[in-house]
């Protein structure tokens, strides 16, 4: 559906006043839940996401176990009150797909071979949703996994780029997602720039795609720094205390 709202004004500013390669505000806090082995609370624009990591623990039911490595079990779930029209509780096709691609992205960077027959459960709860929840969820999951002390090659970071009003932009907001031309969520391992998650819908030329990838990867690197800061904020005081 196209609308007549102007997604980019004459000064090149977007609806919320951002420039074309600006991120929304991001706030990350590590270790916010008592019961979980690791947890993270993340606010990204109007998104609010809570992630809890349990494990490594015995994978149940047993037929899901892998005798050579751990399985990574990410579950993406949206709260009924997180969206404009109430969402029916429980998994739907969309959340199952997102759970799967996030699990696969995490499996790549977790040293799963250290925990045969175990499962590492990553529960992602979207409490408030406003475009880009899968990137928010995966970014928070990276911090929660680090908080849980799960050995990883890197802390994954995710960010989307897209196209609105004929221009490639970073980190789509709500109206931009609804009325934009393309959306490209990307997750990377920031140390190596390996791509862990990549989805696209909409319409991009090859040049636009390359530009969008550049933006998304740049965004991931900025987010990676915020992730590291959140982890340091929790653990640095403890280290200095020793």
């Amino acid at each position: 559906m196209k609308s007549d709202i102007n997604l980019i004004d004459d000064n090149g500013k977007r609806l919320d006043g951002r420039g074309i390669d600006d991120l929304r505000n991001i706030k990350i806090e590590a270790g916010v839940l008592h019961r979980a082995n690791g947890s993270c609370y993340l606010e990204w624009g109007g998104n609010k996401v809570l992630v809890a990591v349990y494990g490594p623990r015995e994978a149940i039911p047993r037929h899901t176990q892998n005798s050579l490595r751990a399985i990574v079990n990410a579950k993406y779930n949206m709260a009924a009150f997180s969206v404009e029209d109430r969402k029916r509780p429980g998994p739907d096709r969309r959340s199952k797909e997102i759970s799967k691609v996030i699990s696969e992205a995490l499996e790549k960077i977790i040293l799963t071979e250290q925990f045969p027959r175990a499962s590492i459960d990553v529960n992602i709860e979207v409490l408030d949703a406003e475009a880009g929840t899968r990137c928010a969820g995966l970014t928070a999951a990276g911090v929660a996994l680090a908080d849980a002390g799960i050995p990883m090659k890197d802390i994954p970071a995710a960010c989307a780029a897209g196209k609105i009003a004929g221009k490639v932009v970073l980190d789509l907001g709500k109206e931009e997602d609804n009325y934009g031309d393309a959306d490209l969520p990307v997750a990377i391992s920031p140390r190596t720039d390996e791509i862990l998650l990549l989805q696209m819908d909409g319409h991009l030329t090859l040049d636009e795609f390359n530009q969008a990838m550049d933006y998304a990867i740049k965004g991931c690197h900025i987010i990676s720094e915020i992730q590291k800061k959140a982890i340091l904020e929790k653990y640095q005081p403890k280290m200095e205390g020793q």
Binding site: G46, K48, L50, F81, G90, N123, E125, L127
Partner: protein, 260 residues
């Protein structure tokens, strides 16, 4: 359910014999409570309540729908609770189990039977259109006493909710009409000891549980006994008194946050 080792049970009971609890509280002492409202922008009303380490988030969504045939001029309340796997290593995803259903129903009863929401003011067109209120309760961190946390979060969310008239092109938004809410306090019994606001360990070894909701006048507005143990008359009196005493302080804290 976790199998709490016998040793843990013995430890808790031995402490109780000396009049002590594991976390140093008195038998009739509540944990620290914090209430935060309007935490979810997309929701019509929301609240996060912490009781000790237990954390519960309640959210309100509203929609226009048909009334029940027997109450054609009343709004409708629908309550659901989810024990999401985020909150505890023992919770599993999937359709709500017994525990979640009991929790939702006890909260629902506390809100419905005590007529906290003025449902008769939520009629748009008799027989045709009324407001449907969806109250969804998410357990975020389970460290004991879900009943009180869930009902307090629900009350705080309802008290600060807005009827989204504008979104449905029905005029101006207005605050959800609410009456003075009763406050629920839960006690559990193990080995003939009765303690209020059970911690996780106490919840897990409890033989019996009793939730009492009391109102402003000191009257009882709802009760629910759970688990397979029993209470004596005297114990019930004790539980009611502890609920009244703690209820007062919780009510004060709630009205401070909601401004009602």
């Amino acid at each position: 359910m976790t199998v709490v080792p016998v040793i843990k049970r013995d430890y808790i009971c031995n402490l109780a014999k000396q009049g002590k609890r594991v976390d140093g509280r008195k038998f009739e002492e509540y944990r620290k409570i914090s209430i935060e409202t309007k935490v979810v922008n997309k929701a019509e009303g929301s609240a996060r309540v912490k009781i000790g380490n237990t954390q519960v988030l309640a959210g309100i969504k509203m929609d226009v729908g048909e009334p029940y045939p027997d109450t054609p001029e009343s709004g409708v309340l629908t309550t659901a609770a989810e024990l999401i796997p985020l909150a505890s290593p023992d919770f599993e995803s999937g359709p709500p189990q017994e525990d979640a259903i009991e929790l939702a129903r006890v909260v629902d009863r506390g809100v419905r039977e005590s007529e906290v929401i003025e449902l008769d003011k939520l009629c748009i067109e008799p027989n045709e259109k009324v407001w449907i209120i969806f109250l969804d309760i998410h357990i975020l961190d389970y460290d004991g006493n879900l009943f009180d946390a869930a009902s307090l979060a629900s009350l705080a969310a309802l008290s600060t909710a807005t009827v989204p008239n504008k979104r449905f092109e029905l005029g101006e938004d207005y605050p959800l009409p609410i009456r003075e809410p009763p406050i629920s306090c839960t006690s559990v019994k193990f080995d003939n000891f009765v303690v209020i606001d059970p911690s996780l360990d106490e919840d897990e070894i409890a033989d019996a549980r009793l939730t009492v909701a009391t109102d402003n006048n000191g009257d009882i507005r709802a009760m629910q006994k759970g688990l397979n143990g029993s209470f004596t008359r005297e114990e019930i009196q004790k539980v009611i008194k502890a609920s009244l005493d703690n209820g007062k302080e919780i009510r004060r804290q709630l009205s401070e946050v909601t401004g009602k």
